[in-house]
């Protein structure tokens, strides 16, 4: 059939794209016969089609997906994914999801971040269809897929173990998803070649996974996931088996490919640095619930709970009570015998609260340095321990009998503020920070 040469699609059961035109334009008006490059169709085709539809059950979605993959060259239609009050409890009593709700926007990269056992991997597996939730629903672009099996969901998944098929070549691994979708052989060959180039593995198609390095295996897994042009890409701790340098490289590569293809992506990790660098938004999870959802900057700068403050980055957390208002519009805060100035809050006088001071927002000066006077919070202190990390110095500084402050200073700035000063244990210094650098954490 010459007229099917461009967007040739075989749907099985003797139905091919050539006789689909009218049906599918009625379903999706943007798919005109001209765009498909197809000719007319006949009455008998129509009856064959309806038989095919009744056999498929979820026919419309299957059709739309197959058309999309055959017709929309290059890019997938990114799905928005909605999780509605998902709950999942395992037999052992572990709560993996507790009324968890989230809406993921098309083309967005969102990280599920949390300690092991917080339910992030379970949530990913629920989205993929490997785990059935006890309650709640999963929606892909407003279509309820809660009960759809994994093989009907059209998602690409990257496993921590890569999960490459050891008995298949790189090419066969990558082609597997297309084979399952009935894509023709020449088309498969063309797209495999294209995707191999994309992940910089050209010429490796005939190798077996065991003949590749960890980073290369990772790329094969990524190629296998994106070649089906999934409506969503799910990544389950994909970088944890790589060494540090390769991890940073792959992280950038995954982000780059994800943005180029515009795939809605869900990234599961326990590594907060990874989540901060790669994500559009982060969901910090704890005990099957979302503790906080926000941009990396939001999550880092304004944590909404103690858990988030402690989990993301290094944190000094002090408990004390809120006192009166200052003339600068900030609040006073009693921490043992110390008086601190903290950001403004509506909380009444005398209420107890916790504050967060990030190690890098504290400045260290020599005791007599006048620059310290610009800061409302300044205390004479003693260095208890100093660790030189190359680009920065990590200090443990005692500012009161019961108050130990973790401070990180760029190694360079220390040199300039304290001339050629190298901090040593036992040195007397002045620590200072702004009121706004002491963030109040809502108590939950």
């Amino acid at each position: 059939m010459p007229d099917t040469a461009r967007g040739k699609l075989d749907l099985g059961n003797g139905v091919s794209i050539g006789n689909l035109t009218q049906w599918q334009t009625s379903l999706d008006p943007s798919l005109t016969p001209e765009r498909l490059g197809l000719g007319a169709r006949t009455q008998s085709d129509r009856s064959r089609l309806s038989r095919w539809f009744s056999k498929q059950g979820n026919g419309y979605n299957t059709l739309r997906r197959r058309l999309r993959q055959g017709v929309h060259e290059g890019s997938a239609v990114p799905a928005d994914i909605e999780l509605r009050r998902i709950s999942k409890r395992y037999g052992t009593g572990v709560v993996a999801a507790d009324e968890f709700s989230l809406r993921i926007l098309p083309g967005e990269l969102i990280s599920l971040l949390g300690p092991s056992g917080c339910g992030k991997t379970t949530m990913l597996r629920i989205i993929a269809g490997f785990v059935m939730p006890d309650a709640g629903s999963v929606l892909f672009s407003d279509a309820d897929v809660t009960d759809a099996p994994a093989n009907r969901r059209d998602v690409g998944m990257l496993f921590q173990s890569y999960a490459l098929f050891p008995h298949m070549t790189v090419e066969a691994n990558i082609a597997y998803g297309l084979r399952m979708r009935g894509v023709t052989k020449p088309e498969i060959r063309r797209r495999v070649e294209q995707v191999l180039e994309q992940v910089r593995l050209d010429g490796m198609g005939q190798r077996y996974p065991r003949q590749l390095s960890g980073g290369q295996q990772q790329r094969v897994a990524l190629a296998r996931a994106i070649i089906i042009r999934p409506s969503a890409l799910l990544l389950d701790e994909p970088l944890s088996n790589l060494d540090a340098n390769l991890r940073h490289e792959m992280r950038a590569e995954i982000r780059q490919i994800q943005q180029r293809l515009g795939i809605t992506t869900i990234f599961v990790t326990h590594d907060q640095e990874e989540a901060l660098t790669i994500s559009d938004r982060i969901v910090v999870m704890n005990r099957g619930r979302a503790e906080q959802i926000g941009s990396p900057v939001d999550i880092y700068r304004t944590p909404k709970s103690l858990f988030v403050a402690q989990f993301i980055g290094e944190a000094n957390i002090f408990r004390g009570s809120i006192l009166g208002r200052t003339e600068r519009g900030t609040r006073s805060f009693a921490l043992d015998d110390l008086r601190l100035e903290v950001e403004n809050t509506a909380a009444p006088d005398g209420s107890t609260a916790a504050i967060l001071v990030r190690p890098e927002s504290v400045h260290v000066f020599a005791p007599e340095d006048s620059r310290g006077e610009a800061y409302p919070n300044r205390f004479p202190a003693t260095i208890e321990a100093a660790f030189y990390l190359g680009p920065s110095v990590s200090l443990r500084i005692r500012i009161a009998r019961n108050v130990l402050l973790h401070v990180t200073q760029p190694a360079e700035s220390l040199g300039s503020t304290l001339s050629s000063y190298v901090p040593r244990q036992g040195d007397a210094v002045m620590v200072a920070w702004q009121a706004t650098a002491s963030r109040l954490i809502p108590s939950s």
């Binding site: 993929a128 093989n151 969901r153 921590q160 173990s161 008995h167 597997y176 399952m180 089906i228």
Partner: protein, 291 residues
């Protein structure tokens, strides 16, 4: 005198090797009760049989020629091989899902399934085979059940079907245990990956599980086949005189016909078949894993 450093090191790191002595008892037992009798059997198989229950030393191929030329013995051999193949096949079909369930289950279920698989092994084969005669006989449990449903009785005791049925139950644990080992090493992620890429359950089995568990299937079925064609108790008790196999025939030749040379030759033929199959199977697995 001083040695170059590496030689001094080599000398020091080689301890007096007395641990090899520990191999001796095992080797002695292996040789004493297996290889030596086997050698004697091989020697007997070339002797000449003297009717009346004696053998005279000779170096003739009479016994082998007799086995090959007489169609009766060919029939026994074929029957034995058919039972072996049948049992291996049925045990594989029944055992694979069981092995998969054991390999993929966790905690309590797993222990329970393994126990269910192993308990039959802890009962004597003779006891189990007698049990089967009770189940299979014309007035037995199975036929009783059929009759009460108004169905015709089926002759099972002293038939091939009965022998295959009971031998399958005896042999299945070996197959299941072999398969569990192999299936456990196939990561569940591989199945999930295939599912996620659009494969239905059947495709996952065909494309992923089956090819990756092939070594286990081959090893397990071969083990069952080898054990089945040399089985004696079950064919004798369940098959009786009407289902004669190699092992029961050898037994009768030794104890009833008193024809030790012929019994020896038959034993050697059976052994040779197992040996050849072992080599072929080993080759097949090696070329597969090399590919």
């Amino acid at each position: 005198m001083s040695l170059p450093p590496h030689e001094a090191l080599a000398r020091r790191s080689a301890p007096p090797d007395r641990t090899r002595m520990l191999l001796l008892p095992g080797l002695a037992l292996l040789f004493g009760v297996f290889l030596a009798p086997l050698g004697i059997t091989l020697r007997y198989s070339f002797n000449r049989f003297v009717p009346g229950g004696l053998q005279e030393p000779a170096f003739v191929l009479d016994n082998y020629v007799r086995f090959i030329l007489d169609p009766y013995y060919a029939a026994v051999l074929l029957r034995t091989l058919a039972i072996g193949a049948g049992v291996a096949l049925v045990a594989l079909l029944l055992g694979y899902p069981l092995a998969y369930a054991v390999a993929r289950s966790r905690s309590r279920w797993r222990a329970l399934l393994i126990a269910a698989t192993l308990i039959p092994l802890m009962t004597s084969v003779v006891v189990r085979s007698y049990g089967w005669t009770i189940l299979l006989s014309n007035s037995g449990v199975i036929n009783g059940a059929l009759a009460s449903l108004g169905l015709p009785r089926v002759k099972l005791l002293y038939t091939m079907t009965g022998v295959v049925l009971s031998l399958t139950q005896v042999m299945m644990p070996f197959l299941v245990l072999t398969l569990v080992g192999v299936l456990q090493n196939i990561s569940r992620d591989l199945e999930d990956a295939a599912r996620g890429l659009g494969a239905g359950r059947w495709r996952v089995f065909r494309d992923i599980l089956l090819p990756l568990s092939l070594p286990g299937i081959a090893a397990g079925s071969f083990l069952v086949f080898a054990l089945t064609i040399s089985a004696f108790a079950t064919p004798r008790l369940v098959g009786g005189a009407s289902v004669e196999v190699m092992a029961t025939m050898i037994y009768d030749q030794v104890l009833s016909a008193l024809n030790w040379p012929f019994a020896s030759a038959t034993s050697i033929i059976l052994l040779a078949i197992v040996l050849v199959l072992t080599i072929v199977e080993g080759r097949m697995l090696r070329t597969r894993s090399a590919a």
